[in-house]
């Protein structure tokens, strides 16, 4: 009877070959397939190759298998495509996971993921082999992008190659029923990497107000007790970091509410497996030096197991036994360990040497970080998540563009540089690299670009870069274009910002583009930054700009908002008041004179410098120690934006806020009112400006780009007002609004140019 049935089943048996593409390696996909094959009693094999995952299955319940494959993939997997072909039956029983096959890569690496809840249980389960093991992982969590040297994803091609699994780990690896079946990162205290110091030593140092450098997933953090002003101030002193806010880490979601007022959407962002730093409205209670004069605070949840262990150890005195869900009072500053604008430290020896004068204790582990990746930073802006910095946990996840095209690369700008490579319809934006001002960052930048091209196996046909001749990225792009015989496409800075927004939202046809930004070299050689353009494919035309203000001292004006304050006074015909409003700045009178000398200064149409001017006139931030400090401090004062009857003038596409600026010096006694008027009138003026152009040009879609859109008051006010006018505003969502998104726009435009070249 049984034999007869078996023969009948074999007669019905078919063999299928399944090709799965997408983020399917290093996410437990093969074990998942293996489990499904067992569940549906199929024979065959699964393997990783350079195209993704290849499956051959044979049996009766093939349709159920395919349905389950599509419906219940592992948490970190993303299936882009599934191709199914029928192949001749081999009549061989059993199901196996075969060795990976290398070659040209069409697959991709997946982002790193914070420790999952099941591994967390192992971590604190005294009966588990992984009890208190600071590098516990499984197929659902742990490092990926940061430890991969090459594809396909196999232990031998990761930083784990030097740790052969012990017998127990090898068993787990082979156990088809477990979460660690084919977990390439599997390791335990017996065989895996280990921490250089006991957790108790770290906790004790932090409790005593010491500064600890702690190796994490994508780099080192500098940590200290965020409630201890002496410790935080000392960290600022040693890191030579004046006022730029520090991010903090708390033990768990329940602890966030002690220091901030997160919305449900913000809570959800924090809980993403990427564990980004999320900007939240803050409460009192932390050391004042954590984020001076700002109303927001960057908060993140622990993502590496070692973070959980540290919080666990620090709480042991007061909370016994430790509950994972109860609020913990401990708040730790967790800031990137780097010095003077250099890249994040990832190497143990570099950490010990470079942080010798900064950290009291440097904690490493011997799992090498292969790819440097900073913490990602996000905020809820105008009701939806936006990146302020896109890196760990999100990179190298691609952004899908509209339609296919030739391969292209975007080289980025100068500050907060990223590189984008477009392959097919997917745009791979690199992790945040940093400011290309020193040799180490430039080297990291070039290495990132090369690695991206290599892992994606792409030869770009067009390379987009900025117009500015002196950006290292522009020079790199020119060299690369020459090397690849690719077309070099120099893209105006603000057009790139707008193109990035149009690309990620897959906007087609002509769009109105608005760039609200600090500075970019204009097509006419000017200093642009408050621009209204019409963008149609790769063609664009400048429809308008902010009224120019003097830019006394070039880059110096960007670091010293008081100069823009003086520039505004001279533009108002009130140069003689420079000494009055900037009495404590001896150079103010000279700068006023300079502004009145035609040969002395260039001008700028920058929105960022307009913010600087307003902040300076209100006495808010005459000198800034980090980028956009004045604008952030100004925004922090705003509760309800207010408007003025005649705060701006609009003529022939030129938007002039001088009437608004004229009111500000006298509002020094009430900077809150000044800041509220400034934000309100700016939104009002921008709305009128954009709506006027939209109706003249018969356009509805408005792409908003540029660093100023990280100002939530501005972004929310403007997009709401534009919607009220019947327009469709689009904000940057998939890449940062600031120069971190430039490379995406450049790549998108370069791709269009290359497409034209092919067509013609």
């Amino acid at each position: 009877m049984a034999a007869a049935l078996s023969i009948a089943a074999e007669a019905l048996s078919e063999r299928r070959r399944l090709r799965v593409r997408g983020a399917v390696q290093g996410v437990g996909f093969r074990p998942f397939v293996h489990r499904l094959a067992l569940r549906y009693e199929l024979s065959g094999f699964v393997l990783n190759d350079s195209d993704g995952v290849l499956i051959e299955v044979e049996g009766v319940r093939l349709d159920a298998f395919i349905g389950a494959l599509e419906q219940e993939p592992p948490p970190l997997a993303r299936i882009d495509s599934l191709e199914i072909a029928t192949v001749p039956s081999t009549w061989r029983g059993g199901f196996e996971i075969r060795e990976s096959i290398g070659g040209r890569t069409q697959t991709r690496i997946v982002p790193d993921a914070g420790v999952c809840s099941v591994c967390l249980e192992d971590l604190f389960d005294p009966s588990s082999r992984f009890h208190l093991y600071p590098l516990v992982t499984c197929t659902d969590c742990g490092p990926r992008f940061t430890i991969v040297r090459a594809l396909p994803y196999d232990r031998a091609r990761t930083a784990m190659a030097t740790f052969p699994p012990c017998e127990a780990c090898a068993c787990d690896y082979a156990d088809t029923t477990g979460r660690r079946f084919h977990a390439e990162t599997i390791a335990c205290p017996a065989c895996g990497p280990s921490l250089s110091h006991p957790i108790e030593t770290i906790a004790e140092a932090l409790a005593k107000g010491r500064i600890v450098a702690l190796k994490g997933i994508g780099g080192f953090h500098l940590m200290c007790d965020a409630r201890n002003e002496t410790a935080v101030a000392e960290l600022r002193r040693r890191k030579r970091r004046d006022a730029k806010p520090f991010a903090v880490m708390v033990a768990n979601p329940a602890s966030v509410d002690q220091i901030a007022v997160p919305s449900a959407a913000e809570h959800a962002l924090m809980a993403l497996s990427a564990r980004p730093v999320v900007l939240l409205r803050r409460r009192e209670g932390l050391a004042p030096s954590v984020a001076p004069r700002l109303d927001r605070l960057g908060v993140m949840l622990p993502y590496a197991p070692v973070h959980h262990l540290v919080f666990h150890a620090m709480a042991r005195g007061s909370v016994e036994p430790l509950s994972h869900s109860a609020a913990q009072p401990t708040v730790l500053v967790a800031t990137s360990a780097n010095l003077g604008g250099e890249p994040l430290i990832i190497d143990d020896e570099d950490a010990r040497r470079q942080l010798a004068g900064v950290a009291d204790l440097t904690v490493t582990h011997d799992r090498q970080i292969v790819v440097r990746t900073d913490d990602s930073v996000m905020a809820v802006i105008a009701g939806a998540p936006a990146y302020l910095r896109r890196a760990r946990g999100f990179v190298p996840e691609p952004i899908e563009l509209k339609g296919d095209g030739p391969p292209a690369l975007g080289a980025g700008g100068l500050l907060k540089a990223t590189v984008t490579v477009v392959r097919g319809r997917e745009a791979f934006v690199s992790q945040h690299i940093g400011d290309l001002r020193n040799a180490a960052t430039i080297s990291f930048y070039e290495e990132t670009a090369r690695r991206l091209l290599e892992t994606l196996d792409v030869r770009p046909e067009a390379i987009g870069c900025d117009l500015h001749p002196d950006f290292p990225s522009t020079r790199f792009a020119a060299r690369l274009a020459q090397g690849h015989g690719a077309r070099l496409v120099q893209v105006q800075h603000h057009v790139a910002h707008i193109a990035a927004v149009a690309a990620e939202h897959r906007l087609t046809g002509p769009v109105l583009g608005v760039a609200l930004d600090g500075h970019g070299l204009g097509a006419d050689g000017g200093a642009w930054g408050g621009e209204l353009v019409q963008l149609d494919g790769a063609d664009w035309v400048r429809l308008g700009h902010l009224a120019p203000l003097p830019l006394p001292g070039g880059d110096r004006a960007a670091r010293e908002p008081w100069r823009m304050g003086v520039a505004a006074l001279t533009a108002l015909g009130r140069a003689d008041e420079a000494a009055r409003w900037f009495a404590d700045i001896p150079l103010a009178v000279d700068v006023a004179h300079l502004c009145l000398t035609p040969a002395g200064v260039s001008t700028t149409t920058s929105m960022g410098r307009l913010f600087d001017a307003a902040a300076a006139l209100l006495g808010v931030c005459p000198y800034q120690s980090y980028e956009a400090q004045a604008a952030m401090e100004l925004q922090a004062l705003v509760r309800t934006p207010r408007v003025l009857p005649d705060g701006y003038r609009l003529a022939a596409g030129v938007l002039d806020f001088r009437p608004l600026l004229a009111t500000l010096p006298e509002l020094r006694s009430d900077p809150v009112l000044g800041a509220e008027l400034f934000h309100g009138v700016v939104v009002q003026g921008l709305t009128a400006w954009i709506a006027e152009a939209a109706s003249r040009r018969h356009l509805k879609q408005v792409a908003l780009g540029g660093g100023c859109l990280m100002n939530a008051v501005l972004a929310e006010g403007l997009s709401a007002a534009l919607r009220d006018r019947g327009l469709e505003p689009w904000l940057p969502r998939a890449a940062p609004a600031n120069d971190g998104g430039l490379s995406l726009g450049q790549a998108a435009l370069a791709r269009i140019h290359a497409g034209h070249a092919v067509a013609s």
Partner: protein, 348 residues
């Protein structure tokens, strides 16, 4: 020269250059004999030939040519004339050479004041005499109004360098020391202060000077230890170091705190937002020297008036990127960029 042939003497007070002064006729001869001959006065020029003949010296000949355009023509510490003499003497000297003779050619704009031309010629003559390097041949052309800016001058210099000394931009090697002969940025700031005289006042004067005397002392002190010398004119110290880095295939590491910069230059650069490293000099040199010769070289420089403030500012390092890096007073390193042109704002 037969002056009696001219109708009347040039009006050197109120007269202006006209097209006839470049015609090759009598008017041109008069201009030469009344303006340039008295100013440059030397035996070669007084023979009135279209060329000058001189004995070839023993050693390797060095030759350099340069064109001078500057606005304003007269500035604190010099003018276009003295600049045209000093600049070319310095270019010849940077080979470690002794400059011998100069030539000069002038492009004059119609309507240019003869008084200014005389002042410039006299200044050139004085500079050449002081340097002991005579201007022995020359030429003059006049272009229509609007086709030049007052006066453009080209000078060419020849000199001789002693056997065995072969300074070249491709010779910097890791660990070599980098010296600058004195305060940087004076010339550029003096010019800018004049150009924007309403904007800021400074008592700064151009450093325009002939450096061959200093160079002779340096060659005597460090001889074959000298790798290369350059005068950091347009583009400043930043451009020179970047050129040397590229040509030698090395990097440079400069100490910000070691850079000699006058407070007035710092203040002017602060006001205008300029980097003193990118500002022009006309009487300074950068020398790269083998480390074992650095001390004797700097002592020799200190003994010369034009090298009194000489300083070691950094060293040559291995670097595949050929970066010029500066250790700032904040501790971090930053790249000293080789700009494509003007200093453009970059902060986004």
């Amino acid at each position: 020269m037969n002056r009696a042939g001219y109708a009347r003497r040039l009006d050197l007070q109120h007269g202006r250059v006209d097209m006839s002064h470049g015609s090759g006729g009598r008017a041109m001869a008069q201009l030469i004999s009344e303006v340039f001959h008295p100013a440059f006065a030397n035996e070669w020029l007084s023979r009135g030939n279209d060329q000058a003949a001189f004995d070839a010296p023993v050693g390797r000949m060095v030759m350099s040519t340069d064109a001078y355009v500057v606005s304003p023509l007269f500035f604190p510490g010099g003018d276009i004339g003295s600049l045209a003499v000093h600049g070319t003497i310095n270019d010849v000297s940077m080979a470690g050479a002794r400059p011998l003779y100069l030539s000069a050619s002038f492009i004059l704009e119609e309507g240019f004041a003869l008084a200014d031309l005389k002042r410039i010629a006299d200044s050139m003559g004085a500079a050449a005499r002081d340097a002991g390097v005579p201007i022995i041949t020359g030429d003059t052309k006049v272009v229509e109004r609007g086709k030049a800016d007052g006066v453009f001058i080209s000078t060419t210099g020849v000199g001789v360098v002693q056997g065995g000394l072969d300074l070249s931009a491709d010779k910097a090697r890791p660990d070599d020391q980098v010296l600058v002969s004195g305060f940087i940025g004076d010339h550029g700031v003096a010019i800018m202060s004049k150009r924007q005289n309403t904007a800021f006042d400074t008592d700064l004067v151009s450093d325009s000077a002939a450096l061959h005397g200093l160079v002779a002392d340096m060659v005597a002190a460090a001889g074959l230890g000298l790798r290369v010398m350059r005068d950091p004119t347009r583009g400043g110290v930043a451009a020179v170091l970047n050129e040397l880095a590229q040509q030698s295939g090395v990097g440079f590491l400069i100490e910000e705190s070691a850079l000699p910069i006058r407070p007035q230059v710092v203040a002017a650069c602060e006001l205008l937002g300029l980097d003193p490293l990118c500002v022009a000099n006309e009487g300074k040199l950068i020398a790269v020297v083998a480390p074992e010769f650095a001390q004797s070289l700097i002592e020799a420089m200190h003994a010369h008036p034009l090298g009194r403030d000489a300083t070691i500012i950094g060293k040559v390092v291995e670097d595949d990127h050929h970066f010029v890096q500066m250790t700032t007073s904040f501790g971090g390193d930053r790249i000293i960029d080789w700009l494509s042109g003007e200093q453009l704002p970059r902060i986004c």
